[in-house]
C-alpha cells in the first residue's frame, strides 16, 4: 500500500528489446528493469494509433466506448465524463505528474493533457517538441531536410538538445522534489522516440552497422490479405527522403537498402530511448525510492518494420498492436534490496553486454485497457468496478480486468501450461 508509481510509456515501440528475445538490439537498461519485473510477452493495444490507444488505456475504456478512432474529439465532451487512471490516483491522495507525451496532445486531451482532471500540476512538454517535424536533418548535400531517417548532431539541434533528453531531465527533477517533500506520487513519463521522424543522436548508429541489418522476414504483401486490411503508410511518404524515392502508391515497395536504413534507425532510436530510461531509473535509485515505487514500462502500440510490405502502425497486424509491458513491484516481482544497494544502476549500451533474463514471464494474452484496474490493485486502491454493457453514463468503471493474478502466477518463471497444446 502507498507505493509510488512511475509509469513509462513509449511512443510507437514494438517489443524490439533484449528482454523480448531480440538478438540485435542494445537495450541493457530496459532489460535490467525486466530482470526485476514480470514481463508480458502477449500484450496488445486496443487500436494501433496514438490518441485512441492512449485515451483507451488512460480511461480503461475501449475505443467503442471512448468513441475516439481518430484525433479530433475529447471523450468528456464527445462520449462520457470517464475518470482517468491518473485522476483516480489523484483522488486517492497521490500527486500526479505528466512529463512528455502521455496523453496525445491536442483536441483528444482538450489541449490540456486533461489537466486539471488528471494532473496535480500543469503537464510538462519539452520546449524542443515544436521542432520535431522541422527541417533539422542534414542531407548529403549539407542542406537541412524533414527526413524520416534522421541521425543528428545534438549540438546542432535547436536549443542544443532533443525532447526526450529534456523529458528525462524534468522527470529526474520531479523525483527529487517528491523525495524532498516526502510526497506519494504517480509520475507518468512519455517518451517520443522511436515515433517518426527517427531523429536521434547520430552516435547510436555505431551500434547498428548497416551490414548487420536485414529486411523484415516477410517484406511482401501477403497474397490473401484483404485490401481493406492493408495500411499504405501515408505518413512516412510525406517525409522528404521518402518522397524523393518517388515510390508508387499504395503498395510501393520501398527500395531494399532504404528499408534497411529505416530498420537501422528504428533500432538506433530504441537504444537512444534505452539510455533515457536508464538515466531515469538510475535517478530513482539515487533518491532512494526504488524500494517504494512501482515501475510500469509499456508503449501505446507497435510499428511495422516492413513486414507484409507495410510500415508504421495503422493496422490490426500483431506487429502494429503488440507492445512491451512489464511491471516492477518491490517485494512482489523482486525482493527489496538493502538500503543503499542499487536496483537500477545505469548501463551504457555502448559497452554493456546484456546477459539478463526477465524475473518473471507471462505468456497470457493481456490488453492495455487493463492497466487502470491493474495499477489500482497494485497500489492498494479499490479496483474500479467492471463497466456495464453500456457505460457512457458511468464516470468510474473499467472494461479491462486487472491482471495482477498473472503477476503472482508467473513469479517463479515456470512455463505456464498452454491449455491448447
Amino acid at each position: 500500500d502507498g507505493m509510488n508509481v512511475l509509469f513509462i510509456v513509449v511512443d510507437d515501440l514494438r517489443p524490439v528489446l533484449g528482454c523480448y528475445g531480440d538478438k540485435l538490439v542494445k537495450s541493457p537498461n530496459i532489460d535490467q528493469l525486466a530482470a526485476r519485473s514480470v514481463v508480458f510477452s502477449n500484450a496488445y493495444a486496443q487500436q494501433a494509433v496514438c490518441a485512441p490507444s492512449r485515451v483507451s488505456f488512460l480511461t480503461g475504456r475501449r475505443p467503442d466506448t471512448t468513441r475516439l478512432y481518430d484525433f479530433y474529439s475529447y471523450w468528456r465532451v464527445h462520449a462520457g465524463n470517464y475518470s482517468t487512471m491518473p485522476q483516480y490516483f489523484k483522488e486517492n491522495g497521490y500527486v500526479t505528474l505528466s512529463v512528455g507525451k502521455v496523453f496525445h496532445p491536442g483536441v483528444s486531451s482538450n489541449y490540456t493533457d486533461d489537466y486539471p482532471h488528471s494532473w496535480s500540476i500543469p503537464p510538462f512538454h519539452p520546449s524542443t517538441e515544436k521542432y520535431e517535424n522541422d527541417k533539422t536533418c542534414r542531407g548529403k548535400d549539407g542542406k537541412l531536410y524533414a527526413d524520416l531517417v534522421c541521425p543528428v548532431d545534438v549540438s546542432e539541434m535547436p536549443s542544443g538538445t532533443l525532447p526526450d533528453i529534456q523529458s528525462t531531465e524534468e522527470a529526474i527533477r520531479l523525483l527529487n522534489v517528491m523525495k524532498t517533500n516526502n510526497q506519494k506520487f504517480f509520475l507518468a513519463v512519455g517518451y517520443h522516440k522511436p515515433h517518426i521522424p527517427l531523429r536521434y543522436p547520430q552516435e547510436f548508429l555505431k551500434l547498428y552497422p548497416l551490414e548487420n541489418i536485414t529486411l523484415a522476414p516477410d517484406p511482401w504483401i501477403p497474397e490473401k490479405l484483404p485490401s481493406v486490411a492493408y495500411n499504405p503508410w501515408t505518413d512516412i511518404r510525406q517525409r522528404d527522403d521518402v518522397r524523393a524515392l518517388n515510390v508508387s502508391f499504395p503498395y510501393g515497395p520501398l527500395p531494399d537498402d532504404f528499408q534497411r536504413q529505416i530498420r537501422q534507425s528504428y533500432y538506433a532510436a530504441v537504444s537512444y530511448l534505452d539510455v533515457q530510461v536508464g538515466l531515469l531509473l538510475n535517478a530513482l535509485d539515487n533518491v532512494g525510492l526504488s524500494n517504494s515505487t512501482i515501475v510500469v514500462f509499456t508503449a501505446d502500440h507497435g510499428w511495422s518494420l516492413g513486414e507484409h510490405g507495410e510500415w508504421a502502425k495503422y493496422s490490426n497486424f500483431d506487429v502494429a498492436t503488440r507492445v512491451p509491458l512489464m511491471f516492477y513491484v518491490p517485494g512482489m516481482t523482486t525482493s527489496s534490496v538493502s538500503q543503499g544497494e542499487k536496483v537500477f544502476p545505469y548501463l551504457d549500451p555502448f559497452s554493456h553486454i546484456s546477459d539478463l533474463v526477465p524475473q518473471g514471464q507471462s505468456k497470457k494474452v493481456v490488453e492495455l485497457v487493463s492497466l487502470f484496474s491493474t495499477l489500482a490493485e497494485l497500489a492498494g486502491l479499490q479496483v474500479p468496478p467492471v463497466c456495464p454493457e453500456t457505460s457512457f453514463h458511468v464516470a468510474l468503471c473499467t472494461e479491462g480486468a486487472s491482471i495482477v493474478r498473472y503477476l503472482n502466477a508467473s513469479e517463479n518463471v515456470e512455463e505456464e501450461k498452454d491449455e491448447c497444446d
Binding site: 478512432y69 479530433y72 484483404p226 505518413d235 507484409h308 493496422s315 490490426n316
Partner: protein, 99 residues
C-alpha cells in the same frame, strides 16, 4: 476439444477504422465522419481472427451482418501472419466468439 480450450484462454480485442475497402490517402488515419469500415480483431495465444465490417459513424454502429473481409491466422503454423486462411475455413466458432 480445440474449441473447448479456446473458450478457456484469455483473448485481446483490437480494432482499426478504414474509409474504404481499398487503400486511399486517408486509409491510415480516417476522420470519424469518413469511417465506413471497422476491423475488429480477437487474438489469443493461438490465433488472430479479424472481421472488417460496415460501420456507421453517425450512430457508431458496426454491422456484423455486412462483412467486407475477414482474416484468420493460426499462430503455431503462421506466427508472422502471412497466410490468411479465413476463406478456407469455416469460422462459425470465431464469429460467435467475437460477437
Amino acid at each position: 476439444d480445440t474449441h473447448r480450450c479456446f473458450d478457456e484462454e484469455p483473448v485481446a480485442f483490437s480494432q482499426y477504422p478504414r474509409p474504404a475497402d481499398t487503400p486511399q490517402w486517408n486509409s491510415d488515419k480516417p476522420k470519424l465522419k469518413d469511417i465506413r469500415v471497422m476491423g475488429y480483431s480477437m487474438r489469443s495465444a493461438h490465433y488472430r481472427y479479424t472481421l472488417w465490417v460496415q460501420f456507421n459513424p453517425n450512430n457508431f454502429s458496426a454491422n456484423f451482418e455486412d462483412v467486407h473481409a475477414g482474416e484468420l491466422y493460426m499462430v503455431d503454423t503462421d506466427p508472422n501472419q502471412d497466410h490468411n486462411i479465413y476463406n478456407k475455413t469455416s469460422h462459425g466458432y470465431f464469429l460467435k466468439k467475437i460477437l
